[in-house]
């Protein structure tokens, strides 16, 4: 992990002005992704996962204020001039969105959408772009790709559409793919297929990937490293195996405990995390998870723990009272 990172997010904060006051969606996040590696970002709704991905792509809402640096391939995306940033997007940086119902243009055929992207970035002529589009569709597992090219998004199923969205994202061989909850809007049976497809294409193209999800189960088998976000901050970050072996942050543990277990008796209530995430327009003093944390003590309510390395350099967490490895609740 000490090799030069493809992407490094350094001290990035995103502030959104709202009628109720300033909303800090992302709070001083540091992350790195090496070339060809996969980073999972996990957290519940509203924890800033999507805003962080938008911040990396420089696609924040106009009123949002971004601070910090986003170094990609030796360039700071935050300060890059718009034209060069535009060329970088699509070509080196691509994104797959959550909902394939809305991420494809409803009035253009999928062929048009694919072919125009190819023509724009790779400067292929019409026929070559068409051939390549069909190859891409075949690569993402769409049968009869030539005919599909002439169809509109509403003629495809949700899983098919997400495959098309992935094909468009992969079309220009990006170095980094950001998958923002790529399976949340899909059937459970399709979810695994799409995730396997992403993993396969990633390996084949030696592409780095950021997999954003609220499901720790999705992250477990498919990432090299995991960052857990809560209330805009990264609260625990570790190589995937280390995280699942001995997680230290109580929030991570609570998230994992909230996944239904296949061997549990029917109607077993899930151990939900009580309470709600803090109001991001009103930052609280102390650890933002302390009101919901069962280990919270006096210090947790007064001071904010910082993300620090513990026993090994690549396992970091922000907690005063981490779970002792021996005392861990079996998950």
């Amino acid at each position: 992990m000490t090799e030069t990172a493809l992407l490094s997010v350094e001290d990035v904060s995103v502030d959104l002005p709202t009628p109720r006051g300033n909303l800090r969606a992302v709070d001083r996040v540091d992350l790195t992704v090496g070339a060809g590696r996969t980073l999972g970002i996990v957290g519940e709704s509203g924890c800033g996962k999507t805003m962080l991905s938008r911040a990396i792509l420089q696609l924040l809402p106009k009123k949002a204020k971004l601070s910090g640096r986003v170094m990609f391939d030796g360039q700071d995306l935050v300060r890059l001039d718009p034209e060069r940033l535009r060329k970088l997007r699509g070509r080196s940086l691509a994104v797959v969105f959550q909902d394939p119902m809305t991420s494809l243009n409803p009035v253009l055929t999928i062929g048009t959408q694919l072919i125009e992207t190819l023509q724009e970035h790779l400067e292929l002529d019409g026929n070559a772009a068409k051939r390549r589009s069909a190859e891409l569709l075949a690569a993402v597992g769409i049968p009869a790709p030539e005919q599909r090219l002439m169809q509109y998004p509403h003629q495809l199923s949700g899983g098919m559409r997400q495959r098309v969205a992935i094909a468009i994202a992969l079309s220009c061989e990006p170095k980094l793919l950001i998958a923002d909850e790529p399976t949340t809007a899909l059937d459970v049976t399709i979810q695994a297929q799409i995730l396997d497809l992403l993993a396969r294409e990633q390996r084949r193209r030696h592409m780095a990937m950021i997999l954003i999800t609220h499901d720790l189960g999705v992250v477990a088998g498919r990432t090299d490293e995991v960052a857990v976000m809560y209330a805009g901050r990264v609260v625990e970050r570790a190589p995937t195996a280390a995280l699942f072996k001995n997680m230290r942050m109580p929030y991570t543990e609570a998230l994992l405990a909230a996944i239904p277990k296949i061997d549990a008796a029917p109607h077993t209530p899930l151990p939900a995390i009580s309470g709600r995430p803090p109001d991001p327009t009103r930052p609280i003093q102390g650890c933002s998870f302390s009101p919901r944390c069962r280990y919270a003590a006096g210090q947790c309510h007064r001071e904010k723990p910082s993300l620090a390395a513990a026993e090994s350099a690549d396992h970091q967490y922000a907690c005063f009272h981490p779970i002792e490895i021996a005392a861990r609740v079996p998950a």
Binding site: L59, V95, F97, D99, P106, V107, E120, H121
Partner: protein, 290 residues
């Protein structure tokens, strides 16, 4: 009381939803009439019609005959020829003016809806100013000042249509610009021009076109009103509005002179409204579902 009203409103909405998915016979009748009028107007020079301006003082207000199928008007001019040539004027103005509106208004609306900010405030503000001015008075003032010609008439009516088109385009763009596919296009490195023309325009065009057809209908009526007031096309050119105006003088002797152009205008306007409404109903639910 309030809850009662609310529940009635919901019932109405529910019963209306499945309606108008199909284009009924009325739609096709309207299309048929439009084709008929367009063909007649376009081929007016080729049809075996007498000149619409040749006067025959001996045959004033003559009834229908083999020579004059629909009779003659107060100055002995062939009524059918004047109707057909009048359709030319009414349709030219009726189509060209909304084209000005849809082009300028549509472009302004899309830019305003996409870029937001100060530009949007400026556009919306200036359109409000234009809307606040009584349209007929403006049209009267301009024709009186610049003179009567088809070009002037078209321009005035076109400019008057800009605010409405701007609003339709801006409203459609506002909702579309927040859809994920626009962000996806940005993430793929699309330029603003590309997003506006390739991603947004095809989506905005359908509601805009449906509104365009309604605009045609309104413009034909306004042109008729201006011509009726004597501020439309200069005589002896005929337009439906000026024909109604001229026929008014002999309403009790030969009512058909006013009613024939009125019926032609009524049917044409109704056709445009029907087609526009059907198209709008057709596009609305789909827009919502996507």
């Amino acid at each position: 009381m309030a809850t009662l009203e609310l529940s009635i409103g919901e019932e109405v909405a529910v019963t209306q939803a499945p309606r108008a998915r199909r284009l009924g016979p009325l739609f096709w009748a309207a299309i048929g009439w439009m084709i008929f009028v367009f063909a007649a107007a376009a081929l007016a020079g080729l049809l075996p019609l007498p000149s619409p301006t040749d006067m025959d003082m001996l045959e004033r207000r003559a009834p229908a005959s083999v020579l004059h199928w629909l009779g003659t008007d107060g100055l002995g001019r062939d009524e059918l020829a004047r109707l057909v040539y009048g359709a030319r004027i009414s349709l030219t103005v009726g189509l060209c003016a909304p084209v000005i509106g849809i082009t300028i208004g549509g472009a302004l609306g899309m830019l305003a809806g996409y870029f937001r900010g100060r530009f949007e405030s400026l556009v919306v503000g200036s359109m409000d100013v234009l809307l606040a001015f009584p349209p007929l008075i403006l049209a009267l003032a301009v024709t009186a000042y610049l003179g009567q010609s088809i070009l002037n008439l078209t321009c005035i009516l076109g400019v008057l249509g800009i605010p409405a088109f701007m609003r339709v385009a801006r409203a459609a763009t506002l909702t579309l610009a927040r859809r994920e596919f626009v962000i996806a296009a940005q993430a793929l490195g699309a330029t603003h021009a590309r997003i506006l023309l390739r991603e947004l325009l095809p989506n905005v065009f359908l509601p805009l076109f449906a509104f365009f057809l309604l605009g045609v209908a309104v413009t034909i009526v306004v042109e008729g009103a201006l011509s009726f007031l004597g501020l439309g096309v200069p005589p002896p050119i005929s337009s439906w509005g000026s024909m109604i105006g001229e026929g008014r003088e002999s309403l009790e002797v030969a009512p058909r002179l006013a009613f024939l152009p009125a019926i032609a205008m009524f049917l044409t306007v109704l056709s445009f409204n029907l087609v526009g409404d059907s198209l709008r109903a057709l596009t609305d639910p789909r827009q919502g579902a996507l």
